[in-house]
Subunit: 318 residues, 2 copies
């Protein structure tokens, strides 16, 4: 595959003017962990921090894409430019991951003010925690007013990614294991707004009641804290989307009263830490190539060195 | 929770004599990333490298636990001491994860020569790649002749963990998305032996044929390379387990002809690297506590510093 030259200033300028192709190429640089990212991020830095970031997470089948599509439509009615990052923890396909989701978001396919991108986390050292905030930063710098990060709530890292949004929307569906599953998946703690989608199905009210019960059992009933609402939607028919938008706005207002900056600093800290760890891993990789790690590992296999002593030698060789 | 004093030499000695309690406590040290691990691994080092490590992976529902149980029974018939590490990528519950699997392995519950342990990866910095090889090392050092690492093939790290076994067994079931799913999940590349379980169901032969086709399309048809067999089992009724054991033995013999040490060195290298990365992360964590990272992250949020420049400062402060 021939590798085109990357003209970073031109690419960043085009992305800021809203060129989908330029945005696409920048996010591909993120996916490939391209060395040019350093220049890209430097050029983008002054133009970031404006996008409102909404995380949407939930198990497969709860209707994430349909809900995302409905929320995108609602933001488009307000005239906002919207970016969507769909993050798939298991797919090995870069760029083309979650094709199904993209098709489901096809009602926005011809809208130049909606940018949809799927990202796969496989193969990435550091995975989502490394790539997602940087892709988000690209969309932010490209002038998106709203960025929606859609993740499947499977692994811990996906949950963490969703939890670093300004507002995290947790989606459930009636009868899908309900509250216990939510608790197990660790999504109860990270939700700012809970939505029971497919609320026309049996058991929706029970799921809502269970969720409200579990939330009131948590620490969140203290005065001054945000008390996550539990809403019902039928996203397929856009039912309940107005109420959902209202809840999202209410949460943003509450965040702007204090916690917003704190949460964004936490997100940036995670991003910086992930980049730093990657840098250090690359140095280990260099040692690796120099046979240092191989020799140490051989001694560990022979039982003449324990892995901690080997790691100490590796670290001190950096 | 009161913290008992850990007498490492006594604990290691007891584990080597086969005390399940001692083994359990050592693996809990691994799960907790206890500082004492350093001493534990040093004490265990001379006694490791003897266990034969078999990875078993596959999607939920293919019958991993039933197959594991049948394989354990077959090894027990040979008089081997067997350890089972069941690794759950999504569960937040440490120690008690995969309770269902443990119950399904209950036919071995009273057998002192079978040690079953579930591990959760959530909450671990470095996750499975950090904890699993060390838990495996504990079971190896405790005199297990065979250690089976059972993982759900969901995320990349689980697949990697399974792929570091001496022999990796990939389980599928008829009609469960079949070959395409296997290819997507990245398990085609790591399987040394493929098993279509629940082979009494419709479509088993199609799945077998698809798999064989995909394997022959790969690089593996070159002479001298191991050609992974595709077997059929009905683990619930122990059908096909003799043939499976034969295939596992055949693969081990082939490995002993050359690649075994190479793969074990690769496993040890991953282990050493994971420990080194954790050490470096801890140093970043110390910087974190010292507010360095927070200040850098604040500047990133303000757009006065890009995340790469911030990461550079973080790394140089280590």
């Amino acid at each position: 595959m021939s590798r085109r030259q990357v003209d970073v200033p031109a690419l960043v300028a085009a992305a800021r003017e809203g060129s989908p192709r330029a945005v696409a190429r920048l996010i591909t640089l993120v996916e490939n962990a391209d060395p040019k990212l350093r220049d890209v991020m430097q050029a983008l830095a002054p133009h970031t921090g404006r996008a409102r970031v909404i995380g949407i997470t939930g198990s497969p089948g709860v209707g994430k894409s349909t809900t995302t599509s409905a929320v995108v439509a609602a933001f488009r009615e307000r005239g906002a430019r919207v970016g969507v990052l769909a993050v798939d923890p298991s797919s090995p396909f870069s760029g083309g991951a979650l094709l199904g989701d993209r098709i489901r978001l096809s009602e926005h396919a011809l809208d130049p003010e909606v940018y949809v991108r799927s990202m796969a986390s496989r193969g990435h050292l550091g995975g989502l925690s490394w790539a997602t905030p940087q892709a988000l930063r690209v969309l932010d710098g490209a002038g998106c007013d709203v960025v929606i990060v859609e993740t499947v709530g499977v692994g811990q890292s996906e949950v963490e990614v969703a939890g670093l949004a300004d507002t995290t929307l947790v989606l459930l569906a009636p009868g899908m294991g309900d509250g216990v599953q939510a608790a197990k998946a660790g999504i109860l703690e990270i939700g700012d707004v809970f939505v029971v989608n497919k609320a026309d199905r049996d058991g929706a009210d029970i799921t809502v009641r269970d969720l409200r019960g579990m939330i009131s059992l948590g620490d969140r009933s203290e005065p001054g804290l945000w008390r996550p609402p539990v809403l019902k939607t039928v996203a397929e028919r856009s039912e309940g989307i107005d109420e959902l938008m209202e809840a999202l706005d209410k949460h943003l207002s509450w965040m702007e009263g204090g916690e917003l900056r704190e949460r964004r600093v936490r997100r940036a800290a995670g991003e910086v830490e992930a980049i730093a760890v990657r840098t250090l891993r690359e140095r280990i990789g260099d040692v690796h190539a120099g046979q240092g790690l191989q020799e140490l590992a051989g001694q560990v296999v022979d039982g003449t060195l324990d892995p901690y002593a080997a790691a100490d030698r590796l670290v001190s060789s950096l």
